[in-house]
């Protein structure tokens, strides 16, 4: 009887210990699950790269499990806005720069300043100054910079040669480019330039260089009024529209073509050139490996009219305002933007980094035929106005471009209407 009691006691103790061990894993450290969301998770090349990166992170931080949440590029703001408003946003999210002001103002991006201060003085010295400026709101850092690239012209050198132009002497002005585009166009079969004209976040990156190189701008310097009534803006707008309407050097259907459509046209030799960046060659290569994109494609600085300029692409990472694991989320963010990982993102995806100690020194970048052109353009890079109303302004502007492209309005009328509507939007802000 007594033996049975002892046996029972041992059994109960063993079960209790087992239950305790199960409840509190090794090291008595609770396993934290971080929700990580990024549009790149929907893209083959990037997804593989990110999955590898996350595996390295989980190995280094065994108590953190990263749960990935793919989102489409176009729908990310919708998803994050709704989730943030409901207090259910992912712990770490990826955004492009021009969405940031709206997220800052709505309180949807956690203030990272306390974490940065803990890292010690000089932590941010590794980054270029411009991206750092863009991630600050009211003097506080609310995001960490990610990819940092300029938009360049990416051309198929075989098609450039076939048009009778030497790839070594590619036109450096818009007039010269138009001549080339005409030579490269065979009506109904192939065209000189792929044009993104859809209402897509990628539109402004590809249109802005036209406006800026012609000496125009969207808004006045104080960001209070539209600057689309200047002769330079009118000239740039007309040039862009006429590429399609008069010269017909872009494929039909520009108003519904998004960046991926245009990359597909490049991959299938429908167009000779497109405005792209570091991501272009890997994606085109994935669409059509037979093209041998890395060999055939070549990057050129964007042609110039009055001044050299291009658009800057910057992606940024934010931490959800309601995260239950801010410290772990910061660890993940620090890891993603570390020197080691930024170099990996470049090697895998050909995107250059906002870190000086990567983009400015890594031989892999400095010797890459695409990256070196992209990096050389950084001093001429410009960002779109960082104001909350920017998405609305860009919607109006893209609409005007579409109206001119479809012939619903003349270029002058469409631009004048956009000018008035943008002023009305800015007046509401004032």
């Amino acid at each position: 009887m007594r033996r049975r009691h002892i046996l029972g006691l041992v059994l109960v103790t063993a079960i209790s210990v087992a239950a305790l061990v199960a409840a509190f894993p090794v090291g008595a450290q609770q396993r934290v699950i971080l929700r990580f969301s990024d549009w790149h998770l929907t893209e083959d090349v990037w997804n593989k790269s990110l999955t590898e990166g996350i595996a390295i992170f989980e190995k280094r931080f065994p108590h953190i499990k990263v749960q990935t949440e793919p989102v489409s590029y176009r729908e990310k703001e919708t998803k994050y806005t709704v989730e943030s408003a409901a207090g259910k946003a992912p712990d770490v999210m990826h955004l492009h720069a021009f969405s940031l002001p709206a997220f800052y103002e709505k309180g949807y991006a956690l203030d990272l300043t306390p974490f940065i201060e803990k890292e010690g003085k000089g932590f941010l010295d590794a980054w270029y100054p411009l991206p750092l400026e863009l991630v600050k709101y009211k003097g506080r850092v609310h995001a960490m910079p990610g990819d940092y690239m300029t938009m360049v012209l990416v051309c198929n050198t075989d098609m450039v040669n076939a048009a009778g132009v030497s790839p070594e002497k590619f036109p450096a002005t818009w007039e010269g480019f138009l001549d080339f585009a005409k030579k490269a166009t065979k009506p109904g079969q192939q065209w000189g330039l792929g044009m993104v004209g859809a209402k897509d976040p990628g539109f402004s990156l590809r249109f802005s260089p036209f406006l800026w190189t012609f000496g125009g701008d969207y808004l006045t310097a104080d960001l209070k009024r539209s600057a689309l009534d200047t002769p330079e803006a009118k000239e740039a707008f007309a040039y862009f529209v006429e590429l399609s309407s008069n010269h017909k050097v872009v494929p039909p259907g520009a108003t519904s073509a998004n960046p991926q459509d245009v990359r597909t046209q490049l991959a299938h030799k429908k167009i000779a050139c497109e405005i792209g960046s570091g991501w272009t060659a890997p994606i085109v290569n994935k669409i059509n490996p037979d093209l041998r994109a890395f060999e055939v494609l070549r990057a050129y600085p964007l042609p110039v009219k009055k001044k050299r300029a291009t658009a800057i692409w910057l992606s940024s990472w934010i931490i959800g305002p309601n995260t239950k694991h801010p410290n772990e989320a910061w660890e993940l963010m620090k890891f993603i933007t570390s020197k080691e990982m930024e170099l990996k993102w470049f090697k895998d995806n050909r995107v250059t980094s906002s870190r000086k100690d990567v983009s400015g020194v890594a031989p892999e970048i400095l010797n890459d035929k695409f990256a070196k052109v992209i990096a050389a353009e950084l001093p001429y890079g410009k960002v779109e106005p960082q104001i909350r109303e920017w998405p609305e302004i860009m919607d109006v502007f893209t609409g005007a471009v579409q109206e001119a492209l479809t012939g619903a309005k003349t270029a002058d009328r469409a631009l004048a209407d956009a000018h008035s509507r943008i002023n009305a939007i800015l007046a509401r802000r004032r």
């Binding site: 703001e77 919708t78 806005t81 709704v82 709206a102 103002e105 709505k106 109904g188 004209g197 859809a198 209402k199 897509d200 494929p251 039909p252 259907g253 520009a254 108003t255 519904s256 046209q265 429908k270 909350r388 109303e389 998405p391 609305e392 919607d395 893209t398 609409g399 005007a400 579409q402 109206e403 492209l405 479809t406 012939g407 619903a408 309005k409 469409a414 509507r421």
Partner: protein
Amino acid sequence: MCLSVATARSTSIRTGYLFVLPALLLLLAVLGFPALWSLGLSFRAEGRDGFSLEQYRLLLEDSLFHQTFWNTGLLVGLSVAAHLGLGLAVALPLNLPLRGQATLRLVALLPWVVPDVVAGIIWKWLYNPLNGALNDVLVRLGLLTTPLDWLGAGHLPLVSVILANVWRGFPFVMLILLAGLQAIPRERYEAASIDGANALQRFRHITLPGLRKMLVVSLALDTVWEVRRFGLIQAMTQGGPGNLTEVLSTLVYKQYFAFFRFEYASAIAVVMAAVLLIVSLPYIRMISQEE
């Protein structure tokens, strides 16, 4: 005896309410609460607390809202009319005792089974001016000499969206009308034939009056569906080119999620809900009269 019948009846009613309660609570949570929240938001000025009619004033002044309202009316009016015409035209033969009737009915229903966004993507591909199937077929048939930019030339985009929408939505109307046709007694047609009525007369004096209620039901429900149509247009044009295909649902989405103007988006949504309520009144009245 009377008392026990009354008690049983009252218990039965209570049980009935209890069964309905979970659904009612769910509806209140997922529809009632957000609707009231949006209504409240629409009466607030951006960035300020307190009651305000600011958003409704902005609505009255906003030319984009006016154009969108007109676009929505055009899209809904033409789509619903086409749905009725095509739905009836397809329902009539499907009501005949044909061989393979079940398969034909299934095929006619297919567009309705396709999700809205998928339908939008399919039509965007079909309309593609570079390698779209529609241009290819029309050029091969000699109906076109050069491919058309269906989603980007002049006023064609709205027509193209309506065409896709007609394909997407007609099976719903067809289904309702087919049910109505099946409910008309065969004897009426036989009697009319014996009396010497021709097909047109039978259609005019038997089919149409027999379908009256179903026509009202399909008209009301289809109008409500079409005012809310979002995925198809968003996937095809995102309201473009310009604002040519912008409708109320895409405008609300844009104002809310792209421009972060929650209050203004709510005001548009409230106007949209009011319009839908007005449209559904004949249907609601008809249902109430039947009860």
